[in-house]
Amino acid sequence: MSTLALHQAILLHRRDWRESSALLELFSREHGRLGVIARGWRKRPGWTASLQPFQMLTLGWSGRGELLNLRSVESAEQQWRLPGRRVYCGLYMNELLYKLLPRQQPEADMFACYLQSLDALAAGAPEAPVLRIFEKHLLLALGVALPLSAGDADIDSAARYRFVPGQGLHKLPPLALANDAAVISGDALQALQHERFTAPGQLAACRRLLRLALATELDGKTLHSYDLLQQAGS
């Protein structure tokens, strides 16, 4: 038997599949999001204990295309403990990745951002900035027209902008009467661009904008963990 290639991945979701198997939705370092079948996983104590979200797994699988079979699970070398409602934040990130990332498309930057977000949540950093930065990177990974990378063109901090799904941001004329969820101040945009939130209100403004942009990408799909977070107040 040839040696099995090993991959680092984090479990996003596990669903029972047929009698004794499970379908694993993984986010892997090299291959992005993918689905792998764990046959007879309940009968393997090592697998049942390890196949949980929020831990780095070293996995071996075989097969090609959409039909991958799990062959080996190495116990987690790193895991993130998310106490209390931080577990909702983690589930929220997982749900976004699961519902929005296309399968089998490498997403190295997004994977790095996901790890950083888990680090920050586990270390007790304030939740809201972590989630907003995560949402921004996810939108950039999906190719949404938001000029929010660090190197993008200057945003006028004194101006106001309107987000138009499919097009991006339009600068509003100075005296335009507009104050709906799609309108955001240049100041808040800059904070999101540089990932540094200083003035109160910036986070809330960014949250509205990102929510709108994500809703467009979700195309009617419900985010159940968002409701949980809402109830918990972040």
């Binding site: 390890s50 949980q52 918990a232």
Partner: protein, 211 residues
């Protein structure tokens, strides 16, 4: 879900005879595929027809009689289950579990004499299971009505079990009800070297003073 909605007339497919119908329906049982269905059908038809008639009657009766207890959501044949009606049990002590199988396990162990609340699931946003699906509104009503003095959380040691436990903690603190959680750790008779890393970590985090 009303029990009667599950009832129905036989849904025999056209062109399917009685034997084929039986072979197909036996496969609703967990772990039963074509081969096992065939073995079961032949056994019932060839060797034990009276047992088979009894099985059919028992299934029919269970489907019309068994429902969920109005208070604890466990399977019950009366509006309130036997545990909720038992005045010899401490009705102010309530243990929250995920499934009826968990109740059976705890009852079998015989170590608990309060009552239960059965979630019939766990919070799992990626499966679309939120607080409403696991009866959180009903649990909150019972907390608000001061029916419970201590809640014992016995959800599974999984991420979803953790999220569920946290939701219940919020409810309990809102209603100022004492909350405890069953300890997690090394199984009795278990060798440390075979215990997985996560369980060992939990066992260390939940260590107790030695008395």
């Amino acid at each position: 879900m009303s029990p009667s909605s599950q009832q129905g007339q036989p849904q025999q497919d056209s062109g399917e005879d009685a034997l084929q119908y039986l072979l197909r329906t036996l496969q609703v049982l967990p772990g039963v595929g074509q081969r096992s269905a065939q073995r079961m059908a032949l056994h019932l038809l060839e060797r034990n027809r009276s047992g088979a008639r009894e099985l059919a009657a028992a299934l029919q009766l269970a489907m019309s009689e068994v429902r969920h207890c109005r208070q604890c959501r466990n399977l019950a044949v009366t509006e309130l289950c036997g545990i909720c009606r038992n005045q010899n049990r401490d009705q102010s002590l309530c243990c929250v579990v995920e499934t009826p199988a968990d109740v059976m396990a705890l009852e079998h162990a015989g170590v608990y004499s309060g009552r239960y609340f059965v979630l019939l699931g766990r919070l799992s946003p990626l499966d679309g299971i939120g607080p409403e699906q696991i009866g959180m509104a009903e649990l909150e009503q019972q907390l608000a009505a001061n029916l419970i003095s201590e809640l014992i959380v016995a959800t599974n040691a999984s991420i979803e079990g953790e999220a569920t436990a946290h939701y219940i903690r919020e409810l309990a603190s809102r209603h100022q009800v004492e909350l405890t959680r069953i300890a997690q750790g090394v199984p009795s008779g278990g060798d440390l070297e075979y215990v997985d890393k996560n369980t060992l970590a939990l066992a260390f985090n939940h260590r107790l003073p030695m008395r």
